[in-house]
């Protein structure tokens, strides 16, 4: 029976109403106390061996016979007009199959061609031309032969500078406002007020696998292999741009080398590859190199933030005011820096004002907990300063202002165990049992804490099928993506658990639109909370059918049968038959169960929480900073796989350390040119840079989220890392650093009280 329901769906804190088709009856919720046998256990990844041996096929591994390579020529200027362009020499190079610029882009035959190939380039890395050639080396030779004359125009890249220019008002977006209570009254009631300003840098995703696609046509059907977080987004974009129906397009992303928010759309490389493949009648591959990746695929926004917090002498927070500038690049979006300020604390009077500022840099894009990472750094640093002013333990201050209901909507949380997380983390880091600061010659060690809040409740639409075939093997079909998080493994655990069949008998097929099983994009920490329940429902449906079949074949009442470890048992505990035997007797019949994600329950806020504690060591003579320990305690509902949970937390924490200590796009303020668009100069953490990470969880029962009781874990681990480190550093050196990243020179200058000379190179 098909049923349509309207439900509220959240994605990274933005809500929309969706109609969704649901099937089947609601299932009894799982919880850590349900006595589950496969879910909740540490299963190694089902595709781990394939990945480490190199047999897993990523988009970058797709080489097709007769394949043509596409390569973009990109603007060296942040802002310029092309006054002359001549591709004739490049076109004449042997092995070149075509060169496209704004002059002939329309002949590529897709809708937005003139938006991709522009005469006026507006950021460094903007597309100027495309070369199609028999191999990449010839393509690069051809790029050098395209003669381009530019008339450089003045680029604007610094939001603070733009805010001061009367001539640039059209570059300012907003303000985006949020207000509750009476801010003035809140500050009037306060005994203590702290006012702080912070700057955070643009960070680059640097997924191991760069953006890329391989497109080929089989008759008038298009097949695209692409590194994406959403095969369906890519399909609808291709359908629109190429003017062909979705049913003729198959988008595949079987293995994926990271997305972190940067791979939700089709990207011009995909559309161009598909259009060029149609034109040439040959497969076309466009894979970006690292520099293109770092210039032209987006970034976490640079921000400038002002935070003001008022509190009573006893520590109760009475008012929070956040003002923020967000560098959105050419045309990015204003990420919600205000999330933590609005949601973390029980505070009646809050105001958030955000301005987006458009600059001559690539459009900013989503990046692991967009806005919250930046906002939490500012808020949690300011809260730490407040604790100092009040002479309170910063942990006590946080617990005192703990929100027991969502302060924005005043609704109940589906579950919240942040308090338990704080206490567990405090225990593990020795918050009370060990000294907070230790001196050892030129070195000082100290500890700091920060809290984090995020979304990740997921929701419909998400559909799955579970097939049990004649020998008892199971295939789970979905079109979600495993972007490296371990989705395949978790979905296999869920199907096996629900079916009562062995984990090893389950194979998960995903990342392919041909299944036509609608799934959400893999982002917003929502994959498991969205897809998991759909898979469980499909497995439940398949199980029901198996029991029904067994009941009819063996003439036993269905209610008296159960499936365990691959066999069907009678209620007296004796074995009726194995699942393989049952289906084998029916010829090569396979059972297909269908499942849909149930709607979200009304009236509950689904949030994820984390308490993060850092211990740092500062070399006071050189300014170098090491994070010795990071304890990361999470409330993400029930944990399906403690191993993949650990990987997510370690990865997120390491990325957060990178953000705090090393990562940052450096831009020349005058030319708008990026100084470090490669991995030699833009520093991403490696194993040797990372101290001891303790990922752990508190596991609240959550009957209000979904039939699994799970919430997301993809993004929460990165959020509180930078402020925890910042607070530990403050404790160590007695000075607050307000600008990320904490480079050795910045730390050194803070210790020595030196004001560094301003330079034209800026973290923008």
């Amino acid at each position: 029976m098909v049923k349509v329901v309207k439900t509220r769906v959240e994605f990274e804190g933005r809500f929309r109403d969706e109609y969704t088709v649901v099937e089947g009856e609601p299932l009894e919720g799982w919880s850590p106390k349900s006595g589950l046998k496969i879910v909740g256990r540490p299963h190694p990844r089902v595709d781990g061996a394939a990945k480490v041996t190199g047999s897993a096929k990523y988009t970058h591994d797709v080489y097709l016979p007769g394949m043509v390579y596409g390569k973009f020529l990109r603007s060296p200027y942040a802002h310029a007009k092309i006054t002359h362009i001549d591709a004739s020499e490049a076109e004449g190079l042997p092995g070149v199959l075509g060169v496209y610029t704004y002059k002939n882009a329309a002949t590529l035959g897709f809708g937005g061609a003139e938006k991709v190939f522009k005469q006026e380039v507006t950021y460094q890395g903007d597309v100027v031309a495309l070369v199609l050639a028999q191999d990449e080396s010839v393509a690069e030779d051809a790029l050098e032969l395209i003669r381009v004359e530019y008339e450089p125009l003045r680029p604007l890249v610094d939001p603070e500078e733009i805010m001061g220019l009367d001539s640039s008002k059209d570059r300012i977006v907003g303000p985006k406002l949020y207000e509750r209570g009476d801010l003035e009254k809140g500050f009037a009631e306060a005994d203590v007020i702290v006012e702080e300003s912070f700057k955070t840098q643009a960070a680059l995703h640097n997924c191991m696998e760069t953006h890329g696609s391989v497109a080929h046509w089989e008759g008038d059907n298009l097949v695209v292999h692409t590194s994406t977080q959403s095969v369906f987004n890519v399909r609808s974009a291709l359908s629109e741009e190429l003017g062909i129906p979705q049913s003729k397009i198959r988008v595949v992303s079987e293995f994926m080398g990271g997305g972190f928010g940067s791979k939700f759309g089709a990207g011009e490389y995909t559309v161009v590859a598909a259009a060029a493949a149609r034109l040439l009648g040959r497969p076309v591959r466009i894979v970006l190199d690292r520099v293109e990746e770092n210039l032209a695929t987006g970034n976490r926004s640079q921000t400038v933030q002002w935070v003001k917090i008022g509190a009573k002498r006893d520590g109760r927070i009475t008012a929070i005011h956040l003002k923020g500038l967000v560098n959105v690049g050419e045309d990015g979006w204003v990420a919600d820096l205000g999330g933590p300020a609005k949601m973390m604390y029980h505070c009646p009077n809050v105001k958030v004002e955000l301005y987006g500022v458009k600059t001559n840099l690539v459009s900013s894009t989503a990046f692991r907990a967009p806005g919250y990472v930046e906002g939490d750094f500012a808020l949690e640093s300011a809260v730490d300063e407040l604790a100092r002013r009040l002479n309170m333990d910063p942990l006590e201050l946080r617990l005192l202002n703990y929100a027991t209901r969502d302060p924005v909507t005043n609704s109940e949380y589906s579950s919240k165990a942040l308090r338990e997380a704080y206490l567990k983390g405090a225990e593990l880091i020795g918050w009370r049992s060990e000294p907070r600061v230790v001196r050892d010659g030129a070195k000082i060690r100290a500890k700091g804490v920060a809290g984090a809040i995020w979304w990740g409740g997921g929701g419909p639409p998400a559909y799955a099928e579970v097939k049990v075939n004649a020998d008892g093997g199971v295939t789970v079909l979905t079109a979600t993506q495993d972007i490296g998080t371990g989705t395949r493994t978790a979905l296999a655990q869920i199907a096996a658990e629900e079916l009562g069949l062995p984990f090893s008998s389950v194979r998960v097929v995903l990342g392919d639109t041909i299944t036509e099983l609608r799934s959400p994009g893999s982002g917003g920490s929502q994959t498991l909370a969205s897809m998991g329940p759909a898979v469980r429902a499909a497995a439940h449906d398949a199980k029901n059918q198996l029991l029904e079949i067994a009941s009819q074949v063996y003439d036993v009442a269905k209610e008296r049968l159960t499936i365990r470890e691959g066999s069907i048992f009678r209620s007296d505990g004796s074995v009726l038959c194995s699942v393989g035997e049952l289906l084998g007797n029916l010829g090569d019949f396979s059972v297909t169960g269908r499942g849909a994600r149930e709607p979200n329950q009304e009236g509950y806020m689904v949030n994820t929480f984390a308490a993060q504690f850092a211990e740092v060591e500062v070399d006071t003579e050189t300014g170098t900073l090491r994070v010795l320990r990071l304890v990361s305690v999470h409330d993400s509902g029930m944990v399906v796989n403690p191993l993949t949970f650990t990987s997510q937390v370690e990865g997120g924490v390491i990325m957060g350390m990178g953000y705090a200590l090393w990562e940052g796009r450096l831009v020349d303020g005058e030319s708008g040119v990026v100084i470090n668009p490669n991995l030699n100069d833009y520093l991403v953490a490696r194993c040797s840079d990372v101290g001891e990470i303790t990922p752990t969880y508190v596991e609240p029962e959550d009957p209000h989220t979904n039939s699994l009781g799970v919430k997301g874990i993809g993004e929460p681990p990165i959020i509180g890392v930078a402020p925890a480190i910042a607070n530990a550093l403050r404790e160590a050196i007695g000075v607050r650093l307000r600008e990320l990243p904490f480079t050795p020179e910045r730390v050194y200058s803070a210790i020595k009280g030196i004001n560094p000379r301003p330079t034209t190179a800026k973290y923008l």
């Binding site: 100084i675 520093l683 490696r686 040797s688 030196i754 560094p756």
Partner: protein
């Protein structure tokens, strides 16, 4: 010129390339053959050792040699031996070989310490001491240890061999004393006397990065605790690896105590010539770091020297 292009590229201008421009490849079996090829193609040719500087520059198309002469099949360029008061190291000896050599560990541990903070294991397995010195990157680590040890370079060309003092080797950024047509064959280090110690300390943004600044120190103490030899080399704080001569002078002939160490460290900050760079720090910061690193390296080297008496 190369530096200029390098900077130009780093700043993101120019084409973004992954593949070198086309070139011809030779793999000669003997050094003489290599030298003949090099003299035939002159400026158009480059020799290839570990490739960890040459290949990145070629794939960015900063360098476009028409001919690449691979030295890796040339026999007899990979060794570390000690004879007649000298340690001889073949140009093709890798960082890894240096780090694991017993002779190095016993006689010139500064070299092992230095090689072990170059880049990452992949680079250390391929990169060679000869390649590093010929490349003459002012941020290269090996050069400073070579200066501290006052090593000599043996170059071979079509008209025979010549010996180049380390003081004369570092001509400019990415410019060694090698003439067109010459190949660096060997590095010769005078074996330090008993009572010697050395240290190489590198300050980096994070593990594996090029230095913000680094200091190599080699000292010898006599029976009375007086300093009879001091060599100090500086990395990434000048147009080439630099010798900190004033700092050396502050030490030689004196009994080295904390006050003398401070004096030498201060002198080293005057010896260096750092420039601002947006990635690693201001000139002032680097100068201050040279002082800190010199002091720390001296303390370490002196402790070793006292122990080895």
């Amino acid at each position: 010129m190369e530096t200029f292009i390098l900077v130009f590229k780093v700043l993101g201008f120019g084409d973004l390339c992954l593949y070198p421009a086309s070139f011809e490849y030779y793999a000669p079996a003997s050094l003489d053959e290599a030298i003949d090829l090099l003299n035939k193609h002159r400026e158009e040719a480059r020799v290839l050792a570990g490739g960890h500087s040459l290949i990145p520059m070629m794939k960015l198309r900063v360098l476009r040699p028409a001919y690449v002469i691979d030295l890796n099949r040339v026999k007899g360029l990979k060794y570390i031996e000690e004879k007649g008061g000298e340690i001889r190291i073949g140009a093709l000896t890798t960082y890894y070989d240096v780090i694991t050599s017993d002779i190095v560990k016993r006689r010139v541990p500064i070299l092992a310490e230095c090689a072990s903070v170059v880049a990452d294991p992949q680079v250390r397995n391929w990169g060679t001491i000869g390649g590093s010195l010929s490349h003459c990157d002012p941020s290269g680590d090996m050069g400073s240890s070579i200066l501290a040890l006052r090593a000599k370079m043996v170059a071979k060309g079509s008209s025979g061999e010549r010996v180049i003092e380390s003081d004369d080797w570092f001509v400019g950024s990415f410019q060694s004393a090698l003439k067109t047509g010459e190949i660096l064959r060997e590095i010769v280090i005078p074996t330090p006397k008993p009572g010697s110690g050395g240290a190489y300390l590198k300050l980096e943004r994070k593990a594996g990065d090029y230095a913000i600044a680094a200091v190599g120190v080699q000292v010898t103490l006599d029976g009375s605790g007086s300093c009879t030899y001091a060599g100090i080399g500086l990395t990434a704080v000048g147009p080439t690896n630099l010798r900190a001569k004033k700092a050396e002078q502050a030490l030689v002939g004196r009994k080295v105590d904390d006050r003398v160490i401070e004096e030498a460290a201060r002198a080293a900050t005057e010896d260096c010539r750092p420039t601002d760079d947006p990635l690693r720090g201001s000139a002032e910061y680097k100068r201050a770091m040279v002082g800190v690193l010199t002091k720390r390296a001296l303390n370490k080297a002196l402790a070793d020297a006292k122990r080895s008496r």
